[in-house]
Amino acid sequence: MGPNELPIPRHLIIANGVFTVVAFTLLLLILKLLGVLYAIGKFTSIYLIIILVTFELIKAIARRHLFESKRNSTPKTSTNSFDSILLIAVSLLVFYVVPVLFGAPLFADFEETLMFSTVLTTLTTVQCLIHLGYKQSVKILLGLNTVDAHSVSVSSVVLRNVQCTVFGAWSAAVVIPLDWNRAWQAWPIPCCIGALVGHVIGNFTSTALVLNRRGKLLYKKHSV
């Protein structure tokens, strides 16, 4: 748990989780039905990024609106636009370089790899920035201060999302080498979808943690 950070109400986490799960599932379904899901590796799918950012903004605004009006003790998230853009750029670079090191083509699939990097950056770094602000994001991403995974706070939820997103993208690569010759096996479609699904699972886990008994106890302990 970060410094000066208070646990947030249970219902907020639940609302947040339910919203994410529903919204992301719907998004994936609609994309699939429209037949554009497998174009996720092309620049034409850039609208997806805008939708994802909008989701996060909705969540952040709703949270501030519902939560901060009641308690004023939450510190204002510091916004430093230049540093934030720099962080996003670095994150884009990292998420480009890492898949290349994992075996993606260096330049041959530039468009695809860059789209993957954009999707991951949106789901991790941009999400962090929107919810936590620049300073807190850097601290969390670089592990400069530790967050208690079992506590119920904005940073723990965000962090779990980041971890699950990365894990989802990583584990989805398993289908790429199979010789089934399906359209969705092409880089980076499985990894992008894996990241989105991982993000959903992360939110789901947070909600489930709050809902189960241990979560309740933790919540009570912190909120009293």
Partner: protein, 1033 residues
């Protein structure tokens, strides 16, 4: 006996168990076909010169197999190795033909000018497409089995019935010239024999020139019935340059001239066969079963007219069809185990009183009878075939017999030919389907024993606490393990003696395995409580990175069940390596994955190191080799013939960087001082080795004439032998004197302290026992005494491996070796930071063992290998041997080192995982925080203080590492079993199993060697410290 020897004995026993149980399985899985030593023979000879003999030819059909007709023609048989079908085609419309296209115009000329006398066929070989297997197929007409494929370089006399023997037996004369493989297969069968060495794949001309120089003289003589000329140039050209090189067009044009001249020199009663034994891939290799490899050519030209045929050209026949055809032409019985069908269209027409189709029918029926007799005999001897299938075959044969009675004219005969051919095809298919008969019983025993042994050894090694484990591993247990093995040997010998079992080895493996399993189970039951408690405990304390390791290990085993993952294994392993590196980095607290207490400057350095590792691993991706099935093009396909200057520079730079880096490391450790033989060799031999290595490459790349001009007769192989010599003596000296240290007399101290680069290590506990200050012995390199010996050995092995890998592949090897070193550094930082006492450093994290394991597999792929027989780098066999075949052991060892060097190096250097935190802490102190409780200032001398814990830890680590490999071998075995009727089993799963099994053997041996080296060093250090103590107290 001290504890350490129990560990060694246990490891040796583990090795034995694993090897025997794998062998038990493979003995069932990789069965060879039973060769029947029965021969066909002629009971009567029909000359057919006089009428009465031949008129009733059709009445003798029931004895067709045992009746020989007179020879129809003499045959000149030219075998052009790797003569692919498209080499023979001529397409005048091609404006810019590739080097292999349109180089044999003679074939199309003859087809156009004398269509009645010429035939051209696609000639389909059975896999495996290696020369020796093909020769067997071409002469016996049988299907070779998988295991035969391995014996290409150890030619054996063929004892199955074959056409050469038949010719010899029936008093006809055969002459042979060309590839000396024939000489090994058929010694003393030829009236004249001109063998030429075939082993040097880089030599395009010796064999061909030899054949050409004898061929025409032989044709002029009149005592022969069959002349065989086997040309190797095209095949060797494919191996060396690939089909797209200009050399190929030269060789093919040469063949064109030969064919033209032979046609011109044939007399009226002879015919010419030009056949290929197999094709070649786009890279010039062969051995597999892709279309390019199996599609070869058969070109027939006869001075006599050939039997009329409706489908003249572009007709496909099987390679086994050649034997009955040739037998019929030469008038000898068809070899007993032939499975081919006579090609009636190429039988020359001999003027005689009876219609030609009578003779054809006779030949065809002889073929069908022979085949049926063979199947009948085979089925009686073994239970290979399905009863139902067999009955069907015999029923069909009876039907044909009845049908034959009604064949009275040529039109009916044409229909009958079709029926007989279908029948032969049916029989062949039945054989192909069940030929490889698995011994399910043996396989099941192997699988069960192997899996149970791994599980129980895992339980013992992982589940028992240190002291409990040492208690368990006592004299009694070790004794009973070895004793029961001996009992197994004796028991199986007795069983064999009383004829209760037929096979000694399998029985021995089974009985000893079973007994030893009993001991393991007994131990596990005895310590059941302890094991279950500790496993339960470790389940609770497991962290996320252990889970990641487990996922990766499980997946690396499961992936062997899928052919696409095996094909893409290089990619998967690269992915795993990067995942593990990311895990190592995340352990430093990124993304809040872990709680750590390291400075951000250290973190930055670690990230840079991690990035460097990633880049190095990714760099090696350019050196992957392509499998035939992947259909991709690799770096080497274009590079075999012409090496750029850039590759030379890269190779040179890599070698220099490698030896400079290791030298700087060893020197700053202080391990390069003094005059012990190990140190002197370690100081001076690496530069000499790379000089010789580079010299060898340079000289070998020069064309032969230039080479002789520059260096005269002096062979470049000398340089290779210098490398082997230095490697051998370097390693030998490291084993004899493993301590790279230099003891300074106290009065020398002041002089030497001035020279920098030396980190003198004061043996502190020696000093504490020593009151007088000026008497302190100064020992250079004591702080890295354990790791130095391993480094030195690794340097020798890696340089040797580089020489064998060749200049193209070697940069990747060096890059990956640096990866190994850097990972040791990164993991040491984290391990030190996590450790709460020195003993906890002796527990190597499972993710690190897994990394070493994945790296051993990846190094295999990263150095341009693939688990297929086509992709084995046979070139390595010529390094230093110059293609001489006097000692097959050395070329075999060289190829083995080239292919499995990755497992050798990772296995031997395995103990470095344990030593690394101590050495890096001394050498790179800036990466480590000072910490209470774990004082490593004395470097690896700390290990000596805790040597019992160290040796135990190293033993457990070795066991875990072996178990990772064992798990993979097991899953490879299981997947081969499950997929034994899979389409890809002989292409993918079986080669994979064989490669995994050999890798396992190499790993076992090298891990034991590494462990022995630790014991050796430890004993020497013990000796040294005791000596110092005595001297200064």
């Amino acid at each position: 006996m001290s504890k350490q020897w129990y560990y060694v004995l246990f490891l040796l026993w583990f090795t034995f168990t694993a090897v025997t149980q794998i062998l038990l399985f493979t003995n069932g899985f990789l069965l060879t076909r039973v060769t029947l030593k029965l021969n066909s023979s002629c009971d009567q000879q029909l000359k057919c010169d006089s009428e009465p003999q031949c008129e009733n030819l059709l009445n003798k059909l029931d004895d067709a197999t045992t009746t020989c007709l007179a020879p129809r023609s003499k045959v000149v048989l030219l075998i052009i190795d790797a003569f692919r079908y498209d080499f023979a085609l001529y397409n005048a419309s091609l404006s810019d033909p590739l080097p292999y296209q349109n180089k044999l115009p003679i074939i199309s000329e003859m087809i156009n000018s004398e269509p009645q006398n010429t035939r051209l066929y696609q000639f389909i070989a059975d896999p495996p497409t290696t020369t020796m297997q093909r020769l067997k197929g071409l002469t016996t007409g049988s299907l070779p089995t998988f295991v035969d494929a391995g014996s290409n370089f150890a030619t054996h006399e063929i004892d199955e019935d074959n056409i050469i023997d038949q010719i010899h037996k029936h008093g006809y004369n055969a002459v042979f010239m060309g590839d000396d493989t024939w000489d090994g297969l058929y010694p003393n069968r030829f009236i004249r024999n001109f063998p030429y060495p075939s082993f040097d794949v880089w030599d395009l001309d010796t064999v061909d020139n030899g054949v050409i120089s004898n061929l025409f003289d032989e044709i002029q003589k009149d005592d022969w019935h069959l002349i065989i000329g086997h040309f190797l140039g095209v095949d060797h050209c494919g191996h060396r340059y690939g089909p797209y090189h200009n050399e190929m067009s030269r060789k093919l044009s040469e063949m064109n001239t030969v064919i033209r001249n032979v046609i011109n020199s044939l007399d009226k009663e002879s015919m010419l066969f030009v056949i290929g034994d197999h094709g070649m891939t786009a890279t010039g290799d062969h051995g597999g079963e892709s279309d390019n490899e199996i599609t070869s050519t058969m070109f027939v030209y006869s001075k006599q007219q050939l039997t009329d045929s409706k489908n003249l050209n572009n007709y496909t026949i099987k390679q086994v069809d050649f034997v009955p055809t040739l037998s019929t032409i030469l008038g000898v019985p068809i070899p007993f185990s032939n499975l081919g069908a006579t090609v009636l269209d190429v039988l020359p027409v001999v003027k005689s009183v009876i219609p030609n189709w009578h003779k054809s029918l006779f030949a065809l029926w002889a073929n069908a009878q022979q085949l049926t007799a063979y199947i009948k005999t085979y089925a009686n001897n073994t239970r290979t075939f399905n009863k139902q299938d067999l009955d069907n075959v015999f029923e069909d044969f009876e039907k044909l017999k009845v049908m034959m009675q009604s064949v009275t004219d040529e039109i009916l005969f044409a229909g009958f030919v079709k029926n007989v051919n279908d029948y032969i095809k049916n029989v062949r298919n039945m054989c192909e389907k069940v030929w490889i008969q698995f011994d399910a019983y043996s396989m099941a025993r192997g699988l069960l024993l192997f899996s149970h042994s791994i599980i129980f050894i895992y339980l013992l090694v992982n589940g028992l606490g240190d002291e409990k484990f040492d208690q368990c591993l006592n004299k009694f247990v070790i004794g009973s393990l070895y004793g029961l093995t001996l009992v197994g040997a004796i028991a199986s010998f007795i069983l064999l003696y009383f004829n209760i079992v037929s096979d000694f080895y399998n029985t021995f493996y089974f009985i000893s395995g079973l007994c030893n399993l009993g001991v393991l189970i007994f131990l596990c039951v005895q310590n059941f409580q302890e094991i279950s408690l500790s496993l339960n405990e470790s389940n609770k304390t497991r962290k996320w990175n252990d889970i990641v390791s487990r996922i990766l290990l499980t997946f690396s085993a499961l992936m062997l069940f899928s052919n696409s993952f095996i094909l893409e294994e290089a990619k998967v392993m690269l992915f795993f390596l990067c995942s593990l590196i990311v895990t190592f980095l995340l352990e430093f607290g990124f993304l809040n994955m872990d709680k750590v207490n390291v400075k951000s400057s250290v973190k930055r350095k670690i990230v840079i190191l991690g990035l460097a590792i990633g880049v190095l691993i990714r760099f090696s991706m350019y050196f992957w080799k392509c499998r035939e099935e992947q259909g991709c093009k690799d770096y080497f396909a274009s590079k075999v013939s012409n090496v750029n200057r850039i590759e030379w520079i890269l190779a040179f730079i890599c070698l220099v960087i490698f030896i400079v880096a290791t030298k700087i490391w060893l020197r700053s450790c202080g391990n390069l001082n003094g005059f012990s033989s190990t140190v002197v060799l370690a100081r001076y031999s690496p530069p000499l080795i790379i000089l010789c290595t580079i010299g060898f490459w340079v000289v070998h790349k020069l064309p032969r004439d230039t080479r002789i001009k520059i260096i005269g007769r002096w062979s470049p192989d000398t340089m290779a032998w210098i490398v082997y010599g230095f490697t051998f003596f370097g390693i030998l000296s490291t084993i004899i004197k493993p301590l790279c240290i230099y003891r300074l007399k106290p009065n020398q101290l002041e002089v030497d302290m001035r020279s920098d680069n030396l980190i003198p290590q004061l043996a502190k506990h020696v000093m504490s026992a020593q009151p007088k200050k000026d008497d302190v012995p100064l020992v250079f390199g004591l702080a890295t005494v354990y790791s130095a010996a391993f480094t030195v050995v690794a340097v020798y092995l890696i340089l040797l491996w580089c020489l064998l890998l060749g200049d193209l592949v070697m940069p990747s090897c060096i890059a990956l070796v640096f990866v190994l070193a850097l990972v040791l550094v990164i993991s040491s930082v984290r391990r030190y930071e996590q450790a709460d006492c020195v003993e906890s450093l002796f527990e190597v994290p499972s993710s690190l063992i897994l990394f070493w394991f994945v790296m051993s597999i990846y190094l295999f792929y990263g150095t341009a290998h693939q688990p297929t027989f086509t992709n084995i780098a046979w070139d390595a066999a010529f390094v230093g041997t110059g293609g001489t075949l006097n000692y097959k052991l050395i070329p075999a060892a060289l190829v083995l080192i080239n292919t499995f060097g990755s497992y050798l190096i990772t296995g031997i250097t395995l103990p470095l995982l344990m030593i690394a935190p101590f050495s890096t802490h001394v050498m790179l102190p800036s990466l480590f925080n000072k910490k209470k409780g774990v004082n490593l200032a004395r470097g690896e001398l700390v290990i000596y203080d805790y040597d019992q814990a160290f040796l135990r830890g190293a033993f457990k680590m070795s066991c875990k590492y072996i178990m990772c490999h064992a798990l993979r071998v097991f899953s490879s075995m299981l997947s081969s079993t499950i997929h034994c009727r899979h389409l890809m089993v002989w292409n993918i799963f079986a080669p994979k199993l064989i490669f995994e099994a050999i890798a396992m053997f190499i790993t076992l041996v090298s891990v034991v060697l590494g462990y022995l080296l630790i014991i050796r060093i430890n004993n020497k250090v013990d000796h040294l410290i005791k000596q110092l103590n005595k001297q200064y107290s």
